[in-house]
Structures are given as C-alpha cells and as structure tokens.
C-alpha cells in the first residue's frame, strides 16, 4: 500500500512537471496548427541555459527561468515571422511545418553538440534544496517540489492569460477558427507570434528543471522529449493547452505505477496510452466530441 501511495504521489508530481514539458507544444499547435518538432530541442536549450548560468556565472539555476523567457522572445519572435506566415500560405502547411521544424531541431542539436560536446551535464542538487519534503508520508526531493511549483505557476499563468486577457481571448478565437478570427479584426499573426513565444518560453522553463527530473541534459535528449510531449498532448487533447495537464497526469501516474509494479515496460506507457486514447477517444480525454451531420 505504501508503494502504491508513493507511486501515486510521485506520478502526480512527475505528471505535473511533464504537463509543463508538453504544454508549449500544445499551445503552438492549437494556435498555428503546426507541430513544432523542435520542441524538445527548445527544452534542451533551456537546460543548457540554466547549466551555463550555474557553472559559469555561479548563479542559481532558477535564474534560467527569465533567461528562458528572454530566449523565447529573441528566438521565437523572428522565427515566427521568418517562417510561419509563409508556411500558412503554402498548400500543405502542416506537412511543410513538419519538415521545417525537423530541420530546425537538427540544427539546434548540431550547434549544441559543437558548443557543449556530447557529454551529459547536470546542475547541483543543492541549488534547489538538498532535503526532502513529505506529503501524505511520502518524501520527495526538494528539486521535484520546486519543479512542480514552477510548473503549476506557469500552467496557472497560461490559464489566466487565455481566460482573462484580451490577447488570451484572441488566442482562443484563433484556436477555434483562424480565418474567422481574422475576419473579426484580430491581428492573427501578432497574436500567434505571441503564442509561439509563450510556447517556446514554457519549453525553455521546463528545460531548466530537466536535469533534476531526468538526471542530466545532453544535446541528444530533445527528440525523446518531443515524442513524449506529443504523446502527452494527444492523450489530453491536441490543440487544447489545458488538456495537456490531464495528459501529463495520466502519463506521470501511469509511468510511476509501471515503474513500481512492472518496471521493464514503463517506457511503453505514453505510447500504449496514446494508442488506447486514439482508438477510444480520438479527440483526447478533454477533446470535444466530433459530430458528423
């Protein structure tokens, strides 16, 4: 029973963090209808940003959070205007975006490899507290709790942005129907560019905590993070950022339960869940049912 409780609490914490890992990808898809295949590489960049701050400037890795936001703006804004409007005008923007973002992912990985080498890089455990905090009698490292607290703040902030601000309303309008939003006078490109920047910033912020949650950061971890994020957002609901939270929780709890009771199959969890969800409820757990007239 204690093992089950530990797996459940651990799964919730892990799942909340992975909600943050996936939520930027879902926001970008929801607004742009494009899969950012470089999502994991942007997470990886966030991890290396925190590593640089910690190892070279002696700063606490949490300063990687504002750096990730700055990086999101510096990279995301020009990148959006350089490629997305052109892609949107093409005959097959979704397929072309696949190819384009795959290329961007390869470039980021190659450049990171040149700069940092192939080694794993970690952040000091003590930077986020070297103790453990217990909930319901289950102790988890301080770094987990900090990662979860930041994840909750980011996800909550995104919720408030989407539900309480004019830009957020416009973002949701674009998510619902891009062309209709344009006809109502919404500056679609500007709003979508902001959403893209937010998406990349959230990815970068998640990256700051990746060395704590997955052991280390290295140039090659991006692909796996993109795949996991993709599975999480499909489980939750593709195009609905807040559905990612449900997807993350299902992923986290499923993974930790499998680690506890059948460890060798634990990496199958996201993909097995993805298959089941796609077969039973193709729109995801929080997706709206599709009705054919």
């Amino acid at each position: 029973m204690a093992l089950l409780e530990y797996a459940l609490v651990g799964g919730i914490l892990y799942g909340v963090f992975f909600s943050l890992v996936g939520i930027g990808l879902n926001l970008v898809f929801g607004v742009m209808r494009m899969i950012n295949l470089a999502h994991g590489q942007f997470i990886m960049l966030g991890g290396f940003g925190a590593y640089l701050l910690s190892s070279h400037l002696g700063l606490n890795p949490v300063f990687g959070i504002p750096l990730a936001v700055a990086g999101g703006i510096v990279i995301g804004w020009p990148l959006y205007y350089a490629v997305v409007p052109r892609l949107q005008r093409s005959n097959d923007p979704e397929m072309l975006s696949f190819i384009l973002f795959f290329g961007i992912a390869q470039v980021i990985e190659a450049v990171t490899l040149l700069v940092f080498g192939a080694d794993q890089h970690s952040l000091p455990d003590s930077a986020l507290g070297s103790g453990n905090i217990g909930v319901l009698g289950q102790d988890f490292p301080d770094s987990w709790w900090v990662a979860v607290a930041v994840s909750v703040l980011c996800i909550g902030g995104l919720y408030l942005y989407l539900s309480s601000t004019r830009l957020g309303f416009a973002t949701r309008a674009i998510m619902a129907d891009r062309d209709e939003a344009r006809t109502t006078g919404i500056d679609v490109d500007r709003v979508a560019a902001i959403a893209f920047v937010i998406g990349l910033s959230l990815a970068g912020i998640a990256g700051v905590f990746v060395p704590y949650m997955v052991g280390s950061v290295s140039p090659s971890i991006g692909g796996g993070l993109t795949t996991t994020s993709f599975a999480i957002i499909i489980i939750g609901s593709l195009g609905n950022p807040l559905g990612t939270v449900v997807g993350g929780l299902v992923f986290g709890i499923g993974t930790m339960l499998m680690q506890t009771y059948y460890a060798s199959w634990s990496n199958l969890v996201p993909y097995a869940l993805l298959l089941v969800i796609v077969l039973i409820r193709p729109s995801g757990l929080l997706g709206k049912a599709v009705r054919s007239a």
Partner: protein
C-alpha cells in the same frame, strides 16, 4: 550530420589484395600489397553512446597515428609495413543508421578490416552483417552475451570481457562479504541484462536469492520511485547495471532521495570517472563500488605494446588530455589488430581470425590478458571490484577484490554521506 573520410582507391586496393593472394612468393606478394590498409569503423557523435563511442574512436585514431608515424604496421602476408587509413562514419547512436553504415563499409568501401562501434547496442547490428559477408568483425567493447553463443570465424571481442564474465568477481565479492539482501536493477539490453543474469546465477549458486531483480528500459532517466520500491525490500546492497546516462540519473536520484544503502554498485564510475564526478558530484560518488578499468588500474607486465603507465604518458603528451577507459579500449583494439597483422600468414579474414586465436592466452596488452574463445568472446582482461573512497576534494579508486589485486579493503557498510 555525417562526417566521413572518403577514399577512391578501395576497389583497386581490394583487387590488388585479391591478386596478391593468388600469387606465391614474397616478392610477388609485396608487389601486390595495397598502398594503404583500410580500417572501417563507426562512431557516434551524438546520442546516448556519444561520449563512450568518441572515446573509443579517439583511442583507435591515436593508435593509427602512432603506427603511421612509424611508417605503418607490419603485415606478414606482404612482408612489409603498410600505412593504415581509418574510414569512419557517424551512426549518431542509431542502430538503424549503423546497419546501413556497416553495410557501406563492407560492400561499398570494401575495407580490409572492420571494427565495430562502442558497446553492445551498436555492435549488435554489425555482427550478422559481417558474418553474412564473411568478414571478421573486430569488436572492441560489444560484450553482450547473446553475441557469443556459437562458434564463429567472424567475430572477436578484443578490448572488453564478455559481459557474462564481468560480474563474476562482483558476485564472489558479495558472497565473500556475506551480504544476503541484494537488489539488482538493470537496463533491458544485452550488455546489462547478461550481467544481471550472470550475477543472479552466481549469487543463487552461493545460496543468495536477490530480493529485487528487475529490468528497466535503457532510456530510463528517473529512478526516484524505483529506488523507493527497491528500498521497500530492505536490501543491503543495490547493484545497478546501466549505461553512463543511467548511472548518472541513478546516483543523482539516490543522492537526492535521502535513501542510503550499505553498498551501491554501478558500472561507469570505473570507466568514465571524470564524467561521473562532474555530473554526480564527488560526495555522492563516495563509497560507490564499480569495476575499475585501465587507466584507473594498471597492467604492468605486457607482452605487446606499451604498458598502461607508458600509454598514459604517451597519450597525455600527444593529446594533452588524460585518457579514459574508452581511449584505452580503442587503442588496445588497434594494438590487437597490429599484432594480428604481424602474425597472420595470409591476407584473408579467416587467416586474421586464426591469428587472433593463436594470440589468445599468449598475449598480454595494457588491458590485461588477451583470451578469446571459439565463439569470439573475450574471457581475459577480467575486471576487479573497486570502491571510490574519499581523498582530498575527490575520490580515489581502491581495488577491494580479488585479494591478489586488492590495494585496500572495502569500506562496508558505507557511511551515509
């Protein structure tokens, strides 16, 4: 990103070699000798095996540079020295890419000698291809037990013991210490699973049944919940078999979990100590047990090539960097190839293999005794059990078992850090 060294003369060289074999007489052989020996290999510049693979490749390149400075390596079949040229492709740690590239080395580049990439995962796909093309695969560090289950003339594990024999000393150490409650967690791949199986069998033979015995995916990166599950079994010793990224995650999670075991063992602190110290921290690594490998342990008396200490000095002078085990393994692979070429009477794959078999049991290099069986498994170069003991700001390696190699005694139970 694929980096490769292209050569245009391979077909001519292969033709020359084939003609040379058809002729008799030393002069005719020398006349038909290729101008350069081509050695085909793969390395990974990215992905989970990049660090280890690049180390192994660097060691092999260093060997090639060394012999070329001396005019090349002596080839008995042609009775002359011939320079070596390494043709290397980047498989990016992908078995799919490695399959294509091994095929390219064999069929397009028609290399004279084929050397596998680092580790069991990237070697596994080369073994059937080499056998199919009747090409001897020189296997530096692919040690998965499944590779060596039947007699073959086309596989030779040269720089690392078969993983089935790695944990034998560890098993005997655990039994000798009378540790009864042992947890084993391993990655589900040939390299780690075969070690786990051997250790389990060794322990069970000694009357100890592991209290926890589970595999995890090779991609596992978070051990926090797993460690808690293991702790629930109250083990005294926790043995983790994984690759370097797994060991890093495992040891970091253990350090931050607040859990403590009397003994913790992982593989890669003994092979990539600098990398592990950088990521895990000296404090968290303290009292961890591992397989200490050269250059952390030294082979003094050798029958071929420099001993470990001499190699370390030469490597440092040439590369301005401390070698790690993978550098040694790559260099040792070159040395074994060199010895093979010096003794093989004919320039054929079968003759190469026979030369290796003849060297077996009679050769000692900087990695230790070279001893392969008819299945291609390396049974020499056995690992000891070592423990990292705090020393100054870091840790020093102390060999604790077997007795005849021990440089100190085990600190058991390990004090909490």
């Amino acid at each position: 990103m694929r980096k490769f060294l292209k050569h245009a003369w391979t077909a001519c060289a292969a033709g020359a070699v084939a003609s040379g074999l058809a002729l008799s007489g030393g002069a005719a052989q020398a006349a038909n000798a290729p101008s350069v020996l081509t050695i085909g290999t793969l390395y990974a510049s990215s992905g989970p095996f990049a660090v280890a693979s690049k180390g192994q490749f660097e060691g092999l390149q260093y060997w090639a540079d060394t012999v070329n400075k001396d005019g090349g390596t002596y080839v008995k079949a042609f009775k002359k020295k011939i320079p070596v040229k390494i043709i290397a492709y980047d498989d990016q740690s992908s078995t799919a890419t490695a399959t294509t590239l091994y095929n390219q080395l064999i069929t397009q580049d028609q290399v004279n000698i084929l050397i596998a990439d680092f580790g069991s995962v990237l070697t596994s796909v080369g073994i059937p291809l080499a056998a199919e093309h009747k090409m001897l695969l020189i296997d530096p560090t692919g040690s998965g037990a499944n590779f060596f289950t039947k007699k073959t003339d086309y596989l030779a594990d040269v720089s690392i013991p078969s993983s089935t024999v790695w944990p034998l000393t560890l098993g005997h150490f655990l039994l000798g210490q009378k540790i009864q409650r042992i947890a084993i967690i391993y990655d589900s791949n040939d390299f780690d699973a075969s070690q786990a199986e051997t250790l389990k069998a060794t322990l069970e033979k000694g009357g100890v049944k592991p209290v926890y015995y589970h595999g995890v995916p090779t991609s596992e990166s978070n051990y926090t919940v797993l460690l808690h599950t293991i702790a629930a079994q109250n083990p005294d010793a926790v043995i983790e078999f994984g690759y370097a990224p797994n060991d890093i995650a495992f040891l970091r999670n253990l350090s931050s979990s607040g859990l403590h075991f009397k003994m913790t063992f992982t593989i890669f602190p003994g092979q990539l100590l600098d990398l592990m110290t950088k990521n895990v921290g000296a404090k968290a690594l303290a009292y961890t047990y591992t397989y200490p490998t050269p250059p952390l342990v030294q082979t003094q008396k050798v029958t071929y090539g420099p001993n470990t200490a001499a190699f370390v000095e030469q490597f440092k002078a040439a590369k301005n960097a401390e070698p790690n085990f993978l550098d040694v393994a790559g260099y040792n692979t070159g040395l074994v190839v060199q010895d093979m070429l010096e003794t093989a009477p004919a320039f054929t794959q079968l003759s190469f293999h026979q030369a290796l078999m003849d060297m077996s049991g009679k050769t000692t290099t900087l990695l230790g005794d070279f001893k392969i069986n008819e299945n291609g498994a390396q049974l020499g170069e056995l690992f000891s059990v070592g423990q990292l003991v705090p020393s100054g700001n870091g840790n020093k390696m102390v060999v604790v078992y077997p007795k005849e190699k021990a440089t100190g005694t085990a600190v058991y139970p390990a004090p909490a850090q």
